[in-house]
């Protein structure tokens, strides 16, 4: 037992900051204003299922785009000289040092109807294009904000792939594509998994991005929850219920994804 004692503070931390809040959320979700048990909140949360699906849909698109952009980038990054690597990783992280809200505001000024992009197009007599307040803008915001979270885990896994293993594959007859498919991809599966998790989970529950770039018409489930706690609809019981549903949904998505992922690894 003595060996385990250093873990106690961490255990206490987990109970106070993870388990207890979850229980509180669950308590609110299953009670009404008087504190009596009810399932009404859960069934009421069901009416937001179109929003929920839309959130999952947009987050999934953003995740896929992130993966497509990040994968080759991370691979190239991992194969450059160590000194260049450090500088490039810095560049990837650099935007993250800037406040999240500020970055999203910046996109507003770029995408607005009389924003930078439209004014630029205007020079050629084009537009204005409707860019802000669209689903595309929301996805763009997600991709922009969460891309580093895809690049970094991919990079840290790929960096560990020994260059001689890649040479061995070439030596045994693999073209560049073959090396990718048969060696790099299977070896980078853990990076893909954690990258997808790290992008999808925050993207599905975001509310700032959708509020700022999506306008009123593209509210996501995060915005709905936000409204229940801080908005005019004030109803923490319903908010908790939606949060619970969202959590279950994310867990479900991730477990389905992991299942698929394992099979993929075996197949390759």
């Amino acid at each position: 037992m003595k060996a385990k004692s250093p873990a106690y503070p961490y255990l206490a931390w987990m109970i106070i900051f993870i388990v207890a809040p979850l229980l509180i959320v669950a308590y609110f979700a299953f009670t009404d204003k008087t504190g009596a048990f009810t399932l009404a909140n859960i069934s009421q949360a069901g009416q937001f299922s179109p929003v929920l699906l839309k959130s999952v849909y947009l987050a999934a698109i953003a995740t896929v785009i992130c993966l497509i952009i990040a994968y080759p980038l991370a691979y190239i990054l991992s194969r450059t000289k160590v000194r260049t690597q450090r500088m490039l990783v810095m560049l990837v992280m650099l935007p993250m040092w800037m406040n999240f809200l500020l970055r999203t505001y910046a996109w507003m000024t770029i995408l607005e109807n009389n924003g930078i992009l439209n004014r630029f197009f205007g020079l050629f007599g084009l537009g204005p294009f409707e860019m802000i307040n669209t689903q595309g803008a929301v996805v763009l915001g997600m991709v922009y904000n969460y891309l580093p979270f895809m690049i970094l885990p991919l990079y840290s896994i790929m960096e560990k792939i020994d260059g001689s293993v890649i040479e061995a594959a070439q030596d045994l007859g693999c073209s560049s594509m073959g090396v990718m498919r048969k060696v790099v991809l299977p070896l980078s599966v853990p990076g893909i998994t954690s990258g997808i998790t790290m992008v999808f989970v925050p993207a599905v529950s975001t509310f700032i991005i959708s509020k700022m770039l999506g306008g009123g018409g593209n509210l996501l489930i995060g915005d709905i929850i936000d409204l229940q706690f801080l908005g005019l609809d004030y109803n923490p019981h319903l908010g908790s219920a939606i949060s619970l549903v969202l959590m279950v949904l994310i867990l479900l998505c991730m477990s389905i994804f992991n299942q698929f992922d394992n099979e993929e690894a075996v197949l390759l």
Partner: protein, 349 residues
Amino acid sequence: MDNVIVELKDICVDFDGQRVVNKLNLTIHDNEFVTLLGPSGCGKTTTLRVIGGFVSPDEGDVFFEGKRINDVPPHKRMVNTVFQRYALFPHLNVYDNVAFGLKVQKLDKREIKSRVSEMLELVGLKGFEQRGIGQLSGGQQQRVAIARALVNRPKVLLLDEPLGALDLKLRKDMQIELKRIQQSTGITFIYVTHDQEEALTMSDTVVVMRDGVIQQVGTPQDIYNEPQNAFVADFIGESNILEGMMYKDFLVQFAGADFECVDKGFGRMERVQVVIRPEDIKIVPQIQGQLTGVIESVIFKGVHYEMVADGCGYKWLIHSTTAAEVGSVIGMRLDPEDIHIMKREEDAK
């Protein structure tokens, strides 16, 4: 041994402005076991990588069976490599590692199976098919690496210090094993090592390299008995290297005495370097010796004693199965065929 399979012509390779291979010319024949030997940084691995296609030469041409292959990428060359640290695929088991190249070639499943198991049998890893790479010892991983390369039946197998990570006993066993595999398959082996003993044990031809330049090419016997310069002599086993002068053919002077020798073709009174192997110096009573010396140290080495004798202006390294006493005065004798004459290094350059 007649057909030329690989030919390197005037190969130069630069890394970051530093020339690591300089004007290298080498011809390798079918069925030959060639070893590139030299200290680290001599360009031997780079030369191997030029043949494998992982380094493209800055100057010069690489020919494979008479065709220039400078621009052929590694995956299209008829050579396979056993990498220094094996470079096995960590996500595949033993079977899939060995089958990798055959699967890339999209061979028939049954054929893949039979060739892989034949190869695993050859390297003594039958029954290990389903093992993960992490569950293998260094020696076993090494065999998988060899099997993975050989199963493709390459015309040339490149081996980059494949035994470097193994312990001495295993290394000796694998040397014999590799030689056996080479002879039974008839594949040309190009082997890189810095271990002179390994080179002498296994090779048909040894190529000694230094600073990106070939010093000598020859059979192990040639290299050992007739080193062309002091570097080769010193690198291939320990030796005594002395300054001397050729009086005329078959007569040389060094250490203040005249000796008959078997070398000729030097100029009269030409200054030369003389190499004497420590095991060729015979210890005799002082009166019978051509040279005399005082024993300074005696170290027991197992097979022989290693002694240092001080005399005639030199410290002589002597290997002998009988020990002399420290402080005793001995005579030393040299047979004419044990005296190897070389051009002086600065003159040779």
